[in-house]
């Protein structure tokens, strides 16, 4: 009850947990590359044992990055409804689509086979693994490092006139302002509650009423967002920001042994995951 307005606590995007582990100290370009490889492998891997192996690797990642596992688990909680709905859909409608396997049940349009059951279980596991991995990545990498890494990795696209820098800047700004707006929203909710507003206490079927209840927060929040955007533009122009101008970088990354080790490890782990035949 006392946490009813503590919004900032529930926002894990951009939350960084400085434990100074070896994962934290990796070169962000290599770290991002390694995580992308692992996530791709998880997306392809569709065996039980392969996914169990991946799950074990994910939990081990929490260990070596010295991040308590409950951070990952709290990231799964909001995804549970999606996982359940997805599982039900797949169970009901995928029996006909996925070929092979023994048929467990056939009733009207519903067909449940061993293959569709496997798909359901593997999808749920993939969900959990991807959430775990992205939690480790964001908790062990500051947003600045993350966008720097992304910008470098996308660097080659500049040759085909893709605005890599602008893209990285947009993401930096968006991520940077998530906690700011969470705080603004918290303040706004408190201010309006102080003059008699209620949020989310009406019956759920009175959708219009419940939407109207949000106006006292949404409208001022838009105002604040716009005025902050104007401030940001002024601040950037005052420092002579020119879109598309070539610029040098303040942070220089230099890969060392452990970065290569991490990249190779991710490739080996992925290969093992995909090679497991069951």
């Amino acid at each position: 009850m006392s946490a009813e307005f503590e919004l900032t606590r529930n926002i894990t995007i951009g939350q960084y947990l400085p434990t100074a582990s070896v994962v934290h100290r990796l070169d962000p370009r290599f770290k991002l590359g390694a995580f992308v490889i692992l996530i791709l492998a998880i997306a392809i891997c569709d065996t039980y044992v392969g996914n169990l192996f991946a799950l074990a690797i994910c939990i081990w990642m929490f260990q070596i990055s010295k991040i308590p596992l409950h951070y990952g688990i709290s990231g799964i909680k909001p995804a549970i409804p999606f996982i359940i709905i997805l599982a039900i859909m797949q169970l009901l409608f995928y029996g006909e689509v996925v070929n092979g396997g023994t048929v467990y049940l056939k009733y009207g349009f519903i067909t449940i086979t061993s293959e569709s059951v496997r798909l359901v279980i593997v999808s749920a596991m993939r969900f959990v693994e991807v959430i775990f991995l992205s939690s480790v990545l964001t908790l062990s990498t500051s947003t600045t490092e993350l966008t720097h890494g992304m910008e470098r990795l996308l660097g080659p696209l500049e040759k085909v006139k893709f605005p890599v820098h602008a893209f990285a800047l947009i993401i930096t700004i968006a991520v940077r302002f998530v906690p700011t707006f969470a705080m603004e929203m918290e303040k706004m909710m408190k201010a309006q509650a102080s003059r008699g507003a209620d949020f989310g206490t009406g019956e759920w079927w009175r959708i219009i009423q419940r939407t109207k209840d949000m106006f006292p927060i949404i409208i001022p929040l838009f105002n604040v967002a716009l005025s902050r955007a104007e401030d940001l533009i002024l601040a950037m122009e005052a420092r002579c920001y020119t879109p598309g101008a070539s610029r040098t970088r303040y942070t220089q990354y230099k890969a060392v042994g452990k970065d290569y080790v991490a990249l190779i490890a991710s490739i080996v782990i992925s290969a093992v995951m995909l090679a497991i035949p069951w």
Partner: protein
């Protein structure tokens, strides 16, 4: 002292409890405010003032310790939180951000409408609240909110809280960011609310001139703890304590102290500008 309208005992609060980012914002704070009093809470940034005042209307429930407002125990889940919030009007920093209706009158009327009052009563309250903050009801009620000046917007926001007819008015840095004229006017309005409408006023401020002018009693906080309390005369007379906690003094007090340090025989316990002027006059006439 009669039964205090605000009674806080041994209140502690920890933000983000159970995470590595946890932060102790309040530590064993006790504070009593009598009905009709005007209390200033001062302290350096991050001393826990804002956390403390959010307990007064139940935006934050006590983690440990008790908060009793006009006989209602804020930690009890049985109390009607809306009744509590009607009794304690809380005005946040930069309250002009919270206006959302198109017209001034509608925005002030938001609170009373939410209380389910009949139209006539809402109208009466809006008029009363706008009068109190010095906005003409006839002239201003149909003005668009976005076209107002910063000072006017702040008055509208204040009226929006007053229209709930609270017993206690809590203000977080009510004059921050206002131009000098709006600042003086708003202070004058707050003083009148306290003296004439008999509202209990609790305000947080960094401006010591304001504190000297308005407060009956001053409460000093540092690092989430209460350091001391007393009349403005007692607090501003204790230069050492103020320096230790990085709290400024009103200019009128500062001048006297500087003269005193330079070896002039002067009584540094004065704290109102008029008193300071008298002291300096005495010195000049000697």
């Amino acid at each position: 002292m009669m039964q205090p309208i605000v009674n806080v005992e041994n209140l502690s609060h920890i933000y983000m409890q159970g995470t590595p980012l946890e932060h102790r914002a309040l530590d064993q704070v006790s504070i009593q405010v009598a009905e009709g009093e005007c209390l200033a809470i001062i302290g350096h940034t991050g001393s826990g003032k804002s956390t403390l005042i959010q307990h007064f209307n139940g935006l934050i429930r006590p983690q440990s310790g008790t908060v009793i407002i006009n006989g209602m125990d804020v930690s009890s889940p049985k109390i009607d939180i809306r009744t509590l919030r009607r009794q304690v009007g809380l005005v946040f920093q930069n309250p002009e951000d919270q206006l959302f209706e198109k017209l001034v009158g509608d925005d002030v009327a938001y609170g009373p409408f939410r209380m389910g009052l009949p139209l006539e009563e809402v109208r009466r309250r809006v008029q009363w609240a706008m009068d109190l903050v010095g906005l003409s009801f006839q002239e201003m009620k149909d003005r668009p909110t976005f076209a107002l000046s910063g000072g006017q917007k702040r008055k509208v926001a204040l009226a929006g809280v007053l229209s709930l007819q609270p017993k206690v008015l809590v203000l977080d840095e009510p004059t921050a960011g206002l131009d000098p004229r709006s600042r003086l006017e708003l202070l004058d309005r707050i003083r009148r609310l306290n003296r004439e409408e008999k509202l209990t006023v609790i305000f947080v401020s960094h401006n010591m001139e304001e504190v000297a002018k308005l407060a009956d009693r001053v409460y000093v906080m540092a690092n989430g703890q209460s350091v001391c309390e007393g009349t403005p005369r007692q607090i501003f007379g204790n230069q050492e304590l103020l320096r230790q906690h990085h709290i400024g003094t009103p200019e009128s007090v500062d001048i006297l102290y500087r003269l005193h340090e330079q070896g002039y025989s002067i009584d540094p316990s004065a704290f109102l500008p008029e008193e300071t002027a008298m002291e300096i006059l005495k010195l000049l006439n000697r």
